[in-house]
């Protein structure tokens, strides 16, 4: 006899799906299944988060110890109206709640998933939904608010201030935040459900690291490099990092390459040919080796609700250098005493110089970071907190 039934509603699911929220949902789902919960993953047939095309077949299948149910996405026209609404949202222009929802539904909708929740949602102890700005989450929570557990993964960005987000935060049965800054942001946005907490996010601890093998497999030789892992796109600070890196190398002559992994265009500007190295998408079990091989890990994104890559770098004993504009990562660095933050390109340049010229100082910081992760963010610790929260549900 299991502990109960729980559903995870995630916009995408699959080994090749890249995304922090999707990874949290996948690992939490399998972690709770391993602890005796009967887990269903309700997701779409989409793999690409730009097109939301139905790349996977609809239907049910078993993945290890969970049941996965895929539902087809529906996309509407006219597309241009949605683009016009997006421009207004980003410009901070007035947008009515109805327009917000039309914009949101214009990306994709999944009516069959919604009605699956309407029909079966109450058979679950909890229905976990993430992230906040996707139709699956906002509509799914509306289908079963009394069972909904939102993991919003909020960022301080224009979308977070849309009125359609407020019911998710206020009317869900529980809200699980990944960090205290995200928790504080939610209170700035409006009412939050009475039962909420900063539950955190688990990080898998690799059995070992192979930095030399990683260098050999990817032709990196012995040159030192800083690493960025994530989507190479403007919203994640990639363009800022390129600008800051090129400036640092050009002005200070810093002997560090910039290696990046993930999806998106990882090429550097022409002036940095040979110094900005794109390794593309790496297999899941190769990522820890990338962290271990790096001189330092760079987190240029201000839009983070947790930042698993920072934790993975610390676990690998690699120093972290992060933009101070991101409240969450700055909070981790401050709380752990394990990472450096920069406020502009000049400070980034000096941090990179420090990584080359005083590596001992940064290694000591990385050790504090590793201790911080092991204390707060192992999956065992986080799953304990999740189960305690689930026990509070009626």
């Amino acid at each position: 006899m299991g502990k109960g039934r729980i559903a995870f509603v995630t916009p995408r699911y699959g080994e090749e799906v890249v995304g922090g929220s999707e990874a949290v949902m996948r690992e939490a789902a399998h972690g709770l299944a391993g602890r005796g919960w009967e887990v269903e993953i309700l997701t779409t047939c989409a793999r690409d988060h730009y097109t939301w095309a139905n790349d996977y077949p609809a239907g049910d299948f078993s993945a290890a110890d969970v049941t996965v149910r895929r539902f087809r996405t529906v996309r509407d026209r006219p597309y241009f109206a949605r683009e016009a609404l997006l421009r207004r949202v980003l410009a901070g222009a007035p947008v009515t709640p109805q327009e917000e929802l039309i914009w949101l539904g214009g990306k994709f909708r999944v009516p069959d998933l919604f009605h699956h929740l309407v029909l079966h949602g109450r058979s679950f102890r909890g229905v976990v939904l993430s992230p906040y700005l996707l139709w699956t989450t906002l509509a799914g929570a509306a289908a079963v608010p009394e069972r909904a557990i939102a993991i919003p993964c909020l960022h301080d960005e224009p979308y977070a201030y849309l009125s359609v987000v407020r019911p998710l935060l206020a009317r869900s049965a529980q809200v699980w935040f990944l960090s205290e800054p995200e928790h504080a942001l939610a209170h700035r946005l409006g009412p939050v459900a009475a039962d909420h907490e900063a539950i955190g996010c688990g990080v898998a601890i690799p059995e070992g690291y192979d930095p030399e093998g990683f260098r050999a497999r990817h032709g990196l030789g012995s040159r030192p490099f800083v690493l960025y892992a994530g989507r190479r796109e403007g919203g994640k600070g990639w363009d800022d990092l390129l600008r800051g890196y090129v400036g640092a190398v050009g002005r200070l002559g810093i002997d560090l390459d910039l290696v990046s992994v993930g999806v998106g265009d990882g090429s550097g500007p022409p002036g940095a040919a040979g110094r900005v190295i794109d390794l593309g998408f790496l297999p899941y079990d190769e990522l820890p080796n990338a962290f271990a091989a790096a001189t330092a890990y760079i987190q240029p994104s201000r839009n983070e609700s947790f930042s698993r890559t920072v934790m993975e770098a610390w676990l690998a004993g690699t120093p972290v250098i992060a933009t101070g504009a991101g409240a969450v990562v700055a909070w981790h660095c401050e709380r752990s005493g394990g990472g450096l933050t920069y406020r502009d390109d000049d400070e980034l340049a000096e941090c990179l110089a420090l990584a080359v010229e005083a590596p001992g100082a940064l290694e000591a910081l990385a050790a504090r970071g590793r201790s911080y992760v092991l204390t707060h963010y192992t999956w065992d610790t986080v799953l304990d907190r999740m189960e305690e929260a689930l026990e509070r549900l009626p």
Binding site: R109, A184, G253, R343, A349
Partner: protein, 304 residues
């Protein structure tokens, strides 16, 4: 579709989640009840929503679409009572005719109306509501107005609950904010055991010095150019096949005029970067007396 399955099918029309309106909540409650009764439901909402279909019945196209979707199924609808008003030209009249057709095509029909806001026109009351088996109104006053407009009293009833009123969500108590960050300690010596704060303080001090030294330096002038991506023609693709074809055709037709301009702009950009990078630079590496490597090309890898 057999007659049996059609009899089990119900088309539900109304506002629907995730729109957070009272009407949407009421429609969802109807859907939940029908699903619990093992009915085969199809939800139609005015705007794209979690419903299976959408049809704006204020337009002739929407009215016709609803009629087509209903077929011989049962219909449960929440209509805006504005549809019963006398105003409007040919367009609204055609839309109302479509809605009336939807009601009459249904094997059974229940219509819920929110409070009437204008006098109903007898013509539309009879055309739209006359085909319904049951009309549920907001009050006895509304029932009287519809009876006066010609609707059969036996079909009328008054709603038990004011479903059209938005539920009030009380503000919930906030949680404690995170504690304020500690101020940075005044540490001037940097060693392997230095605190994060001490290191950051040094980084900021160095950056400030760097900023002062770089003021007026010509070496930073090429950075915006290096970050600027080369000019390329716009993508000749589209999710719509015919748009992609048109774009590719236009690009091919204009290639003779556009490509030389793109090449010239990119040549100019490269020449400018090279000219700026060739200028002398005076910033030495931190803590070093040697001149900094001024190029971005990688040093020789001694591992070969």
């Amino acid at each position: 579709v057999t007659a049996g399955t059609e009899a089990r099918r119900v088309v539900v029309y109304g506002e629907y989640p995730p729109f957070p309106t009272a009407g949407a909540a009421a429609t969802l409650a109807t859907v939940q009840a029908l699903l619990a009764d093992d009915r085969d439901i199809q939800v139609v909402s005015p705007k794209p929503s979690a419903a299976h279909h959408h049809a704006e019945i204020g337009s002739p196209k929407g009215g016709a679409r609803l009629a087509a979707l209903v077929g011989g199924a049962e219909l449960v609808a929440r209509f805006d009572p504005g549809i019963l008003g006398a105003s409007g030209g040919a367009g609204p009249a055609a839309a109302r005719a479509g809605v009336a057709l939807a009601v009459r095509r249904a094997s059974a029909c229940t219509i819920h109306l929110s409070p009437l806001t204008a006098p109903p026109a007898g013509k539309w009351v009879r055309a739209i509501l006359g085909g319904a088996d049951r009309v549920v109104v907001a009050s006895e006053e509304d029932a009287a107005r519809l009876r006066a407009a010609g609707l059969d009293a036996a079909r009328l009833s008054v709603a038990d609950e004011p479903w059209w009123l938005q539920a009030v969500v009380a503000a919930l108590p906030g949680a404690a904010r995170p504690t304020e960050f500690a101020s940075l300690p005044d540490v001037s010596v940097l060693g392997d055991d230095a605190s994060r704060e001490a290191i950051e303080s040094e980084v900021r001090r160095w950056a400030a010095i760097s900023r002062q030294r770089d003021e007026g330096s010509s070496t930073s002038a090429s950075m915006p150019l290096q970050v600027l991506p080369p000019l390329t023609p716009g993508p000749a693709t589209s999710s719509r096949r015919w748009v992609g074809r048109v774009r590719r055709l236009v690009q091919r037709l204009l290639a003779g005029q556009i490509d030389p301009i793109v090449d010239q702009v990119n040549s100019l950009r490269r020449a400018t970067i090279e000219a700026i990078d060739a200028l002398p630079v005076g910033r030495p590496a931190m803590g070093s007396d040697t001149a900094a490597n001024q190029t971005l090309s990688p040093p020789v890898d001694t591992d070969g």
